[in-house]
């Protein structure tokens, strides 16, 4: 079993507190753009997510971009949304990804296409995220496709899901998390956390249900470099909870970028202490170059090695 494990999974199973980050592919076919971004992250992170047409905007494919970044020496986590591909396309791409050595996948429903630049496109949603998780689980662990067809060489994937600790109603959102775990999600990356009290409450409920023992939970951290960015997230991003006190703090500070880094580090330090949190997932949207600095200053550098 262990030879089929991804590096990320090995680190989690070895008990390390892991650090993941994110890389957004370009709008265009620029390979050097990916390679350059990737090289800056080597050594600082245990896994890097590559978004799948995030906010429903056309970008280079998650799998292809992840392939180039992997060649630079990173452990990659591809993302797969059910918005753009039906069960045929999703499974086919996952087989391709695994054959390229991309062995971690975050299964998502995806932002509705009305958020992007092609609101007139037809959405797919043939599967939902829970069904995709189950499909990947069965491909990997039972060696069968959704249609029951057996594969001689099944793919290898460490299966992840997203969770939003700030979605409401709380009970309904928790039910969805439980279904994802039940379907086979091995790790969870959460929505960006700013409201720590609410996140701590969520983790308490997670522990009550024993979810933290069935899956590895990585806390989402989104370093913001301006008050404008925070305000935008509060009003325009679905499912985000940004406390007013944080906005005030960013307003009053002299150096918003430095303050943004400090806030991120404070959040990291607090989530690290929460029982059941097994790592962080940094999402510095549009500010990817800050990742190494935050990781160093948070005392998370260097990263552990595993065999």
């Amino acid at each position: 079993m262990s030879e089929s494990m991804s590096l990320l999974q090995k680190k989690l199973e070895a008990g390390h507190f892991v650090v993941c980050s994110e890389l957004g592919p370009p709008i265009g076919a620029n390979v050097e753009f990916i390679r350059k971004k990737a090289r800056k992250l080597v050594g600082y992170v245990d896994g890097v997510n590559v978004t799948d047409n995030q906010t429903a905007i056309v970008r280079m494919s998650s799998i292809v971009a992840a392939h180039f970044a992997r060649e630079e020496g990173l452990e990659m986590i591809i993302q797969a949304t059910t918005r753009d591909r039906n069960r045929i396309g999703l499974q086919s791409d996952l087989l391709g990804a695994s054959s390229l050595g991309l062995n971690n996948v975050l299964c998502l429903t995806g932002d509705h296409q009305s958020f992007g630049m092609d609101p007139g496109s037809k959405n797919v949603f043939d599967l939902d995220s829970v069904q995709l998780i189950r499909a990947v689980y069965d491909m990997v662990h039972k060696g069968v496709l959704l249609n029951g067809k057996e594969m001689k060489v099944p793919p290898k994937m460490f299966i992840g899901a997203a969770a939003n600790p700030f979605g409401d109603p709380f009970e309904m959102q928790m039910m969805k998390v439980e279904k994802k775990i039940e379907a086979g999600a091995q790790f969870i990356q959460t929505q960006a956390i700013y409201n720590l009290d609410k996140f701590e409450y969520w983790m308490e409920e997670v522990r009550k249900r024993g979810i933290h023992e069935k899956t590895y939970i990585m806390a989402g951290i989104l370093p913001a470099k301006s008050v404008k960015a925070l305000r935008m997230m509060k009003t325009d991003v679905a499912g985000m909870d940004v406390p007013d006190s944080l906005i005030e703090r960013m307003e009053k500070c002299e150096d918003p970028e430095e303050e943004g880094v400090r806030v991120a580090i404070e959040i990291i330090e607090r989530v690290k202490k929460i029982e059941g949190v097994r790592g962080i997932h940094l999402m510095p949207v549009g500010w990817e170059k800050i990742t190494p600095e935050i990781i160093e200053r948070a005392g998370l550098y260097p990263r552990p090695e595993v065999e």
Partner: protein, 224 residues
Amino acid sequence: MIVGQQKKAEEIIKMLGENWESLLIVGCGTCVTVSLAGGEREVEALANLLQLYYGKKGKKVTISTDTITRQCDFEFIDDIAEKIEDHDIILSLACGVGVQHMVERHPQKLIFPGLNTSFYGATTAVGEWAERCIGCGECILDRFGGVCPVARCSKSLLNGPCGGSQDGKCEVDDEIDCGWELIFNRMKDLDILEKLLVFEDPKDWQPYRDGGPRKLVNKEYYNE
């Protein structure tokens, strides 16, 4: 019922073109009458408007009107067969089904659609209609407290909500209720929430359009 919305006059005028002298506008007395888009009242109003437009332009035209019980039954279309043949072009204010049924019955006639067929919906207020069903061909309302996740969740999710709804509203638009919150609240009230924890398999979309255009035959009544 099928809810429709009349096309804008400019679009209709452009569609009709110049190459005609007599026009028959045909309304439909069932669904689109209820949704105030293609009934007798709308037919007459549109006829007056077009009359005014072509009059001003100095184009000499004859515009007649008629509204039949249903355009999706040949029986009613045949009641006005002669009238249809007597006019150069026909503008149907029925849903897309009615327009095509007229086309099938009168293959030599140019027949134009005057409505956009919007959705299957219910009257939710005077002058307001809302979608409730997409006609997926395999009803699953029994498992969702009588609220359809396919029609009422913007992403048609079957295993619970996405993380984007806020205050009971969909991430797509504040005007849209989160379908999953409706399902959840209803099942909570009925004390059957545990049903929602059951894994929902991927839906078979063949009974929907994905099996090709659909046809239904009831052998008991079918007469070749």
